[in-house]
């Protein structure tokens, strides 16, 4: 048999579990250690399991940068959305005595930052890998 068969089979089996673990770290950022930045790096490492071993390229760098622009604008707009209800930027939209709105604010910020970090690190290392093949 091909000597790379073991690596390929194991990486394809582990990929969904590492992705799920990264999503777990992002979504539980306000209860347990973790958050947006940490979960984003774990999700990027799950992508590279497939890219290194199986040579499957799912995203091109131009698409990644296009999505990142939209996400960064979304982050800025959501941070400044507190101006609409309170007149103060960098506060939640409905920053009130109710706990659920504060938790929703934290979770949305964590999700945006997590996806942004994933795409950023995937883009940076993909450029280096593509340059090595030329």
């Amino acid at each position: 048999m091909n000597e790379n068969a073991l690596l390929k089979i194991i990486s394809r089996m582990i990929f969904p579990f590492v992705l799920l673990f990264g999503l777990y770290i992002i979504f539980n950022g306000d209860l347990s250690p973790g958050g947006g930045f940490q979960g984003g790096v774990v999700m990027a490492s799950s992508y590279f399991l497939l890219y290194f071993i199986n040579d499957i390229n799912m995203l091109s760098v131009k698409q990644i940068l296009r999505i990142e622009k939209v996400l960064f604008l979304l982050l800025v707009l959501f941070s400044f959305a507190g101006v609409l209800t309170h007149g103060i930027p960098f506060r939640g939209m409905f920053f009130s005595e109710i706990l659920i709105f504060k938790q929703i604010n934290l979770m949305v910020l964590n999700i945006i930052i997590g996806i942004k970090v994933t795409l950023g690190i995937v883009g940076i290392i993909s450029i280096f890998l593509e340059e090595g093949e030329l």
Binding site: D30, L31, S32, F90, L99, L109, K116
Partner: protein
């Protein structure tokens, strides 16, 4: 002659830094050094709604810095893509 002078200078600087560090150690338990710690420990759940103090600090008290941290990641990716272009007519 310059060899032992530079070594003597390095030893003196290290001794000075070590003396300053040792004299700073007794004041670590003073009351005024815990003002920010007590504030963040007691008020993070009331103001940010997070049980994790680190999340409460970087997403509510210091959200402005997290904005620029996300911007740095984006600019780094775009900059590396720009620098790695070869054999293209337009920049």
């Amino acid at each position: 002659m310059k060899d032992w002078m530079s070594r003597l200078g390095i030893i003196l600087v290290l001794a000075g830094v070590g003396y300053m560090f040792i004299t700073m150690l007794p004041s670590l338990t003073a009351g005024y050094r815990f003002m920010t710690y007590n504030y963040f420990t007691q008020m993070t759940f009331l103001e940010a709604g997070a049980e994790n103090y680190v999340t409460g600090i970087y997403l509510e008290y210091r959200l402005f810095d997290s904005l620029f941290e996300a911007a740095i990641l984006f600019v780094v990716a775009a900059g590396i893509l720009f620098m790695s272009r070869k054999d293209e007519e337009r920049l």
